[in-house]
């Protein structure tokens, strides 16, 4: 039996199963329709659970689905994709997670995440929501000040060029982020006694400052957004240590060091501080150190190399219902 014929049978059997399942009011997941079709995997459509539908409605929609399926099959096998039908019986219940634009031919790309990334994100989500389900999630807010180490170092001229031009050439230019306020909001979820998973999103508005032979000057304003997934461990009643990883995004005007934009940079964080119960809540203060990658298109255009930037800060945070001695 040839492959198209086999595909045809598989998708029809799958469709009948879907229709029967849908008629019973259960959720229909129709991605099995696509498994037999090369390069179109990864489409998932969910229907809301618990919908009670009248049988005659199901039958009419089933007829429409069958028509759609025929159209879909012919489009797939003929590689003509002018219109991609919604294969779930009720269009309002379709929620395409990913891949539909590729299937419609509107977008060309890999159309999916790597298996490792999917597994990692799924693990994190499961970890968080399994705990959240036990109503242990607590909200925290934080505020503080931060300062960076050297963001970029420019050596200007080679020794030979320097000797040619004389003493007037500056030694180097360095750029740093100025001391700036930072604020964050997040959730903490107990993992086991004394240990919490802490997920935070943070903001900092700072200024990039360059220092050279002529002094220090402001170059441009930069907004830093960050997301951190971390663990915090209580060491005794007051002292707490934390560590985490995440990503940092820089937003600035399209000029100077950020001409051409900057990509999202990975980061790690470590912190040490103390906390105190206030009523049923907990207040903390901690010193935090971060290390993040930094590199921009403008740097690359002149042969620059990305590298690690250190960032330090002190922050105070407050967790609702986060007291240790509850």
């Amino acid at each position: 039996m040839d492959v198209p014929r086999l595909n045809h049978i598989i998708v029809h059997v799958a469709d009948i199963v879907s229709i029967l399942a849908d008629a019973s009011g259960s959720c229909t997941v129709t991605d099995h329709r696509f498994r037999s079709v090369p390069k179109v995997s990864g489409v998932r459509k969910f229907c809301k659970k618990g919908r009670t539908r009248a049988l005659f409605s199901q039958l009419s929609m089933a007829a429409r689905a069958a028509e759609n399926l025929q159209l879909m099959n012919s489009q797939q096998f003929d590689r003509v994709q002018l219109v991609w039908p919604q294969s779930c019986l009720n269009v309002w219940h379709n929620m395409v997670i990913r891949g539909e634009r590729e299937l419609r031919g509107e977008r060309h790309g890999k159309g999916g995440r790597s298996l490792l990334l999917t597994a990692a994100s799924s693990f994190c989500i499961c970890l968080v929501f399994a705990q959240a389900a036990e109503s242990q999630v607590r909200v925290l807010v934080s505020a503080g000040m931060s300062q960076s180490g050297v963001v970029v170092r420019d050596a200007i001229a080679s020794p030979i060029l320097r000797s040619r031009l004389g003493r007037g050439v500056e030694e180097e230019v360095t750029a740093k982020f100025a001391t700036a306020p930072m604020a964050g909001v997040g959730v903490e979820i107990p993992l086991r006694p004394g240990t919490h998973v802490v997920i935070t999103g943070g903001w900092s508005g700072t200024t990039l400052r360059a220092t050279d032979g002529g002094g220090t000057r402001d170059v441009q304003d930069v907004t830093i957004l960050q997301g951190i997934f971390g663990l915090r461990r209580r060491l005794g009643n007051t002292v707490e240590a934390s560590g985490g990883f995440g990503a940092m995004h820089f937003s600035a005007s399209d000029r100077a060091l950020f001409g051409g934009g900057a990509s999202v940079a990975p980061m790690v964080e470590a912190g040490l501080g103390g906390g105190r119960d206030l009523g049923g809540h907990r207040a903390r203060i901690r010193a935090v150190g971060q290390l993040h990658r930094f590199g921009t298109s403008a740097m690359s255009s002149v042969g620059g190399r990305s590298g690690n930037v250190r960032r330090y800060g002190v922050e105070a945070s407050f967790t609702w219902n986060g007291a240790v001695m509850q």
Binding site: E134, G149, V151, V152, R153, D154, A155, I156, A157, S158, I160, L161, R164, L165, G168, V169, E170, V173, A175, L191, R192, P193, T195, A210, D212, G213, R217, D218, V219, Q220, L231, R233, A241, S242, G243, G244, R255, A256, L257, G259, G260, V268, E269, A270, G289, Q290, L291, F294, G295, A298, M299, S301, V302, G303, G304, R305, S306, G307, N308, V309
Partner: protein, 239 residues
């Protein structure tokens, strides 16, 4: 069920947390900072002005260089403005630490530089510092050769665009007949903007924008390296 009553897992959490913190501390200690490589001797051509000796001119670090585009007819002024926008964007794109920024201004009184066609009267008095005829030329004069540091002389404004003293330091003149050559104005304006920024000489390499008779409107690696070194070399001529 409360988490406090759970069966303990076998993973030694204290050790795990300590390990994470130790790793983070080790990472924080890493010193692989982002760097820009030093420009080599072969990348940078001579940019110093040659008078009796070599002089360096550039605008003060971090300053805006304000350019007024003069044209009696709107379409001709627009043509210059488009070329200026392209040229300025290129030069500005390599001021990585905000050393300079070429910007357009609409009033002569605000301008440091005037950009104009050769067949139109200049809006400033050029009698003491006349432009030399060329396809494109940037004109400026030293105020007092005996003074230290040296300073650029200002062009007085003429009516109707302005009156009296201003702070126009440079006059860029583009030969009007060059407009007949497609793309030529872009090349000439971008080249003259290099002189405006302080590159006082021409590149010996024909593929550079700052070559004496440039053929390309884009900056080469040598043009970029040269202007970046220029702005980190101490100037002895001030605007």
């Amino acid at each position: 069920m409360s988490w406090t009553t759970r069966r303990p897992v076998a993973i030694p959490f204290r050790t795990a947390i300590a390990s994470i913190i130790a790793l983070a501390c080790m990472a924080l200690a890493a010193c692989d900072s982002p760097t820009l490589p030093p420009r080599s001797d072969s990348e940078v051509y001579e940019f110093r002005l040659l008078n009796d000796t070599l002089h360096v001119f550039h605008w003060p670090a971090g300053s805006q260089v304000r350019v007024y585009i003069h044209g009696n007819r709107a379409d001709r002024a627009d043509s210059l403005a488009r070329s200026f926008a392209r040229g300025a964007a290129q030069w500005n794109g390599f001021a990585l630490f905000g050393e300079y920024e070429l910007v357009r201004v609409s009033a002569l009184a605000d301008a440091d530089v005037v950009l104009r066609w050769s067949d139109e009267f200049a809006p400033v008095d050029v009698s003491k510092c006349p432009p030399v005829f060329s396809n494109g030329v940037t004109t400026f004069c030293i105020d007092d050769l005996d003074a230290r540091p040296l300073r650029l002389a200002s062009f007085a404004q003429l009516p109707p665009a302005g009156t009296g003293a201003g702070h126009v330091k440079m006059l860029v003149t583009i030969l009007a007949s060059q407009a007949a050559i497609p793309g030529r104005i872009d090349v000439l304006v971008a080249h003259e903007l290099g002189h405006v920024l302080g590159i006082g000489r021409h590149s010996p390499n024909a593929s550079d924008l700052m070559f004496a008779d440039p053929t390309r409107a884009t900056l080469s690696r040598r043009d970029v390296a040269t202007v970046q070194v220029l702005y980190h070399t101490k100037a002895d001529i001030l605007p």
